[in-house]
Structures are given as structure tokens and as C-alpha cells.
């Protein structure tokens, strides 16, 4: 049986591809959304959709961020933390903004559940402004008081005059598997993990 792998399009996906397949599988080309050889089929999907593809069994395994996993609360096997995709989920506000206690904070984010959990834990009431991208813009134009978003280097925050307030969690790429699919592809999945971990250890 062929193993179906869902990979996120974009930078994380390219690294994931290199980690899993390079150089022996097939050429990297994420414009073709489904590619396969005799043993593996790769589906290129939006990063957040990797979880849905694996959860619904359309893919056996997938690579996604720990942040997305925790945001969706998906019950998938979290087989391995992968040595890439490191970033942090933070709260950030305008540098020029003096933090003053507000009854209710307006929080722009792609991570409403994680943001809610965080602010609940510090007993701060919030209104979530759900956004799908360019979250950094929200405080600049006064749409939100703060943002909750992923940062890698912090350069986007800096370019938009924002600074980190506090860190909520550290994230990295995760290899996840569907429960049923794992049961049917257990040997192939474990072999893949072992092979690639060893290969990575040698090149590291």
C-alpha cells in the first residue's frame, strides 16, 4: 500500500520535503498538488489544511506545526518533533503603545483558541478579531490593541513597529498520523521515521 503524505505548501513544506525525501524520491515541485512514485504519494495543501487531510484519512501522515495542532485540538498521533519549523507564538503590541490595564483587549489573531486560553489563564477579558493573514497590520491601523501570532526572527514585527509582549508557546514542525491509517501503515511509517532520523543525524 502506498503511503500518502500531506505536506504544507510554502517554506515549511520545502524543508519538510527535503527532510523526508531528498535526494532519492522525486523532484520538488509544489505547483503540482499531487505527486507520487511507487511507494509514496505527496499532497501539497495549505498548512492549516494538513490537519484536516490527516484527520479525515485522506492522508496517512502529514507535517504541520505544533501551534496549528494545538489550535485545532486535533486528536492525531504526534509521532515526532522534527528538527525544523521552530518559532514562537507571542503577543505583540505597538512599540509606541504604553500598556495600560484595559477592561477588554481587542486581540487580532489567526489562533483564536490559543489566544483565548492564554488570556483566560491571566484573567484578561478579550474580544477576538479573527484574521487569516497580515495580522501585524491590525494594531497599526487601530483595529486591535494587540496581536497573537507566530514569530520566527521578529523582523516582520519590527518592520511594522511592533514588539513582543509575552511568549505563549514554542512551536516546531511535527510529524502527525491518522489513528486508523497508522494501524495499516505502521511498518512503513516507522521505517520512514527511522530512516530519515538517521539520515538527518548524519548530515547534522
Amino acid at each position: 500500500m502506498k503511503l500518502t503524505v500531506a505536506l504544507p505548501k510554502g517554506r515549511l513544506g520545502q524543508t519538510a520535503w527535503e527532510y523526508l525525501f531528498s535526494p532519492w524520491a522525486f523532484p520538488f515541485d509544489e505547483r503540482k498538488l499531487s505527486v507520487e512514485n511507487e511507494s509514496v504519494r505527496v499532497l501539497w495543501v495549505k498548512p492549516i489544511d494538513v490537519i484536516a487531510y490527516v484527520k479525515m484519512g485522506a492522508a496517512d501522515i502529514g507535517i504541520t506545526g505544533l501551534d496549528s495542532l494545538q489550535e485545532t485540538g486535533s486528536n492525531l498521533y504526534q509521532l515526532q518533533r522534527l528538527p525544523f519549523g521552530h518559532c514562537k507564538l507571542v503577543t505583540a503590541r505597538l512599540k509606541s503603545d504604553t500598556p495600560t490595564p484595559l477592561e477588554k483587549l481587542k486581540v487580532a489573531t489567526k489562533y483564536p483558541n490559543l489566544a483565548n486560553n492564554y488570556y483566560q489563564s491571566i484573567s484578561q477579558a478579550i474580544d477576538i478579531i479573527p484574521l487569516q493573514g497580515s495580522v501585524e497590520l491590525a494594531p497599526v491601523i487601530g483595529l486591535a490593541d494587540v496581536i497573537v501570532d507566530i514569530v520566527e526572527t521578529g523582523s516582520t514585527l519590527k518592520a511594522n513597529g511592533l514588539q513582543v509582549d509575552s511568549e505563549i508557546m514554542e512551536s516546531q514542525a511535527m510529524l502527525v498520523a491518522n489513528h486508523a491509517r497508522y494501524r495499516f501503515h505502521q511498518k512503513a511509517i516507522q521505517a520512514l521515521i527511522k530512516t530519515r532520523s538517521n539520515a538527518y543525524a548524519k548530515t547534522d
Binding site: 479525515m56 484519512g57 485522506a58 492525531l76 498521533y77 489513528h179 486508523a180
Partner: protein, 298 residues
Amino acid sequence: MRWFEQQLDRSKKIKKLLTIADEFAYTLIDPPYFINYDAFRAEQPTMDSLRWIKLADPKGQVNVLRPDLTTSVMQKLKWRKSDGPLKVCYNASTFTQSFQGFNDAKEFGYEYFNAPLKSGETTLRNTLDRVIDGLSLDAVIECSHRGLLTVLTDIADISEDEQPVFRDLLNQKAWGDLTQWLTGRKTKAPVQSFIETVSNYQGDLSGFTDLLNASEYAPMFKSIIEELLAFDSQTSNAVVIDGSMVDGWMYYVGLTFNVYDASVPEAIIRGGRYQVSNSDIEAIGFSVQLDALKGGQS
């Protein structure tokens, strides 16, 4: 199998499942009257459960509840008492070790009664296998034992506060994180190695039994091995032991099992040994996950 083919396959399985339900049980029940109740999953009726029950009881006069009724379920149903006594089937879909007891239910005014299957004696073999065969499942049964978690917890001296983390790491098959966590809490090397080996075990019963028997903790695993062997002998389907499987309903007290099919993304059948509430009676039961079969995610 492509995704749309899986959908087609699932809908065929649902049809078969409903046929089995019609044929399978409850026909000898003397029907007092009908209450809509989800006998299989939730504590509220669902369309699936109603459809199932309608087929199981074409006259729509009786509802069969599993004997693992919780007190809260009984209390919720109590309002129907004004319509007369509620009878609850205790032996149609489960496998009790003893038919005595159920006194707790009497406090709520319920009357339990036996409803033997048409096909004869109620055993795990003629029910679990019947459902698996009837659905033509490309089945893999994975099983484990709730006692395994208890024993591993004891061996590693894992505190109550640490248990949720330990359970999560096992359930998620996050073996790398588990190693790191055990190292971080300074678990002794031989214990750590044993836990990692057991939780990483995914194979047949004989290998698992050998693994447990060979360990210095063997006496602690005696009852676990015995129950797993008994389960294996009761089903004609292949069983995979999964040492990391500690999920499922916390009311399971011994054996736990899931049945997977290649066309369905989650377990179709979930079951295990449980203790009937407020009694010493233990039974092995299972439920068919209609939502999973339909392709919905819980």
C-alpha cells in the same frame, strides 16, 4: 482506495450494519414501551441511534439501553416513570460475567431483564466477530489493557500530577517526547528502557506476552497477560497489541480494544471491560461508532 471510493464503501457498510442490527438482537424482548435514547454513544438521542433502534425494534415499542448506565443517565430517564416502569435490557449487547446484581438500578425504579440473542449464547466471538464479518471489514483489532498504565505508572513511581502528561505522551505515540520526559524526571535507566520498549510495542500477542514475561516485573503483568490471551482466543480476527494505547473511556477496568477498517479514518468499534456502575459486576462490551462509519469526526 481513493477518498470517494472510501465514502461509497462506508455507505455500504452502514447499510450492512443496519441489517445486522435488525437481525441481531432484541427480538425476544417483551416490549413495554419506547424511549428515544442513544444506546451507543451519547447521552442524548441522535438520528443515527434512532434509526438503529427503529430497525432493531420495528414496532417502535422498546428501547434497549446498555447495562453500563451511569447514575446520571438513570436520573435523566426517571421522568418517564410516569408512563410506567422502564425495562432495561442487560444482556443483549454485552457479555456479563454474572447476571446477579443491578440492585442499584432498582433504586431508580428500573427493571432489568435478559434478552438472549437469536443466534444463541452471547459471547464475544459471536458478536464482535459477527459485526466485523457482517460489515466485511478489512479489520485490524488493536488492543491493550488498562492495567498496563497502572503497572507502568507504579514501576516508574509516576505521581498523580504527572499522570495526565504520561498518558498524553503514550496516547499520542510521542515516543521521542516520552524519552525526553522520562529522562527529565530522572526515571531509572532500566525502568525507562522497559517503559519505552513496552509503549513502543506494536505487534502480535505472543511477542508482547514474551516481552512482559521476560521482564523482572513479570508477576505484575500476570492478570494482564491472562486477559489478553483470553481475548485473543475469543475472536477469530487478528489482534495487534499496542503498548501505548491507554486512551478510551476511563471506565474501562481491563481489556480495551478498537477495531479499524482501511476505509474509515477512525475506529469503527470501541470496547473493553468495564465495571457496571455501583456494582461488582464486570462485563466486556463494545459500541459501533456510527459517526465514524459515516465519515464524520467526533
